[in-house]
Symmetry: C2
Subunit: 189 residues, 2 copies
DNA sequence: CTAACATTTCAATCAGAGCTGAAACATTAA
DNA sequence: TTAATGTTTCAGCTCTGATTGAAATGTTAG
């Protein structure tokens, strides 16, 4: 009787952990669009984050039910970005992987990657727009109704993005930037 | 000769404006993933933002080369969110649309919409995870290797998201929140 | 009321981002 | 060296979310 109860408690606990892990992985997948990565990449990272032990590519493949190639491609990016580390086990030829554990550091990495891929090219294009508009002679502007309008809008957006960039630059300088900024902001509410 | 030069200047100016408008619309489309909206919705909004005059649905349709229904669906959401206003012209039965012009206000709207749709459900799930873990008896935790691990990770992520939420709450309370916050942060670099 | 015009809806279709899996490639052991 | 094991690549496929377009619905003028 005692033994049976203990067994049940053990099984219940395992179930809850498995359930929590699964829910957590799903959740991480749901957040993928925030970081501009694919659902699968986020799920792989979520699995490594919530789990305490390093996983092999095969572990990941079977846990998430995805193909070998998919694991390989996504892991490569995660390692490149520094969100996941490759670790070796002695006497085992396979690679194992583990996640960073600091949430703030992870999110700093994700945000800076996203900025690099998406904000930087936009700012570049916008500066081109500004210079095209500046090169117009003031006399020739008369032909367009509401001539200063375009300049205003472009300047306003550019101002916004450059402010964001300046703040981002500080965030990404080191791991503490994001945390500091949030602590600075949190009390103002 | 004089006339010809003037004509050329006029045409050049028009071309530059058209080019700038097109590039701006593309750019806005490129930013769509930042706001979690479709490319087309962003393009419609970009067109209305960069252009000084209100546009009818048909104007938008022909400018962007998309279908009537597509314009209708996307405009509806933009109006619901308050990014675009419906305006009427006297003696014209058609609806015309114009964008908000304040960049900070627009981005506040977009960010708060995104939070509502994506962050709120995630926090809800995460709290469920936390409570599932809390309900485990400490005795039954022994069966899992590294038992506190899950709790730690969940708590850490939840702490992060709740901090973000708190800051966001302030941002979204009024149009000035975002601007204020940025001004607060900008000097720290 | 009816006709003319504008808008919205939604089933069917399309496009493309992401995934698969088999073949090529790399590494290690013996 | 060869065999065994592990990893990466990429052409083709799949599946989801976006788009179309025609029919239904709504609106205004006369």
């Amino acid at each position: 009787m005692k033994a049976a109860n203990t067994r049940n408690a053990v099984n219940d606990a395992k179930q809850v952990y498995t359930l929590v892990e699964q829910r957590f992985v799903d959740l991480w997948g749901d957040m993928s669009s925030w970081w501009g990565v694919s659902r699968t990449m986020a799920e792989i990272h979520g699995l490594l984050f919530i789990t305490s032990t390093p996983h092999s590519a095969e572990d990941i493949q079977s846990s998430l039910g995805i193909s070998r190639g998919n694991v390989s491609m996504n892991i490569r990016t995660l390692v490149e970005w520094g969100l996941v580390r490759r670790v070796r086990k002695r006497g085992d030829r396979r690679d194992y992987y583990e996640s960073l554990t600091d949430v703030w550091e992870m999110f700093t990495v994700l945000a800076s990657q996203r900025k690099r891929r998406e904000i930087d090219p936009i700012v570049k294009t916008l500066k081109q727009c500004r210079s095209d508009l500046a090169n117009l002679e003031s006399s020739s502007r008369k032909v367009v109704p509401n001539p200063g309008h375009h300049v205003e809008r472009v300047e306003e957006l550019l101002g916004f993005l450059l402010t964001i960039e300046k703040v981002a630059e500080h965030f990404f300088k080191n791991n503490e930037g994001l945390r500091e900024a949030m602590q600075l902001l949190a009390p103002i509410g």
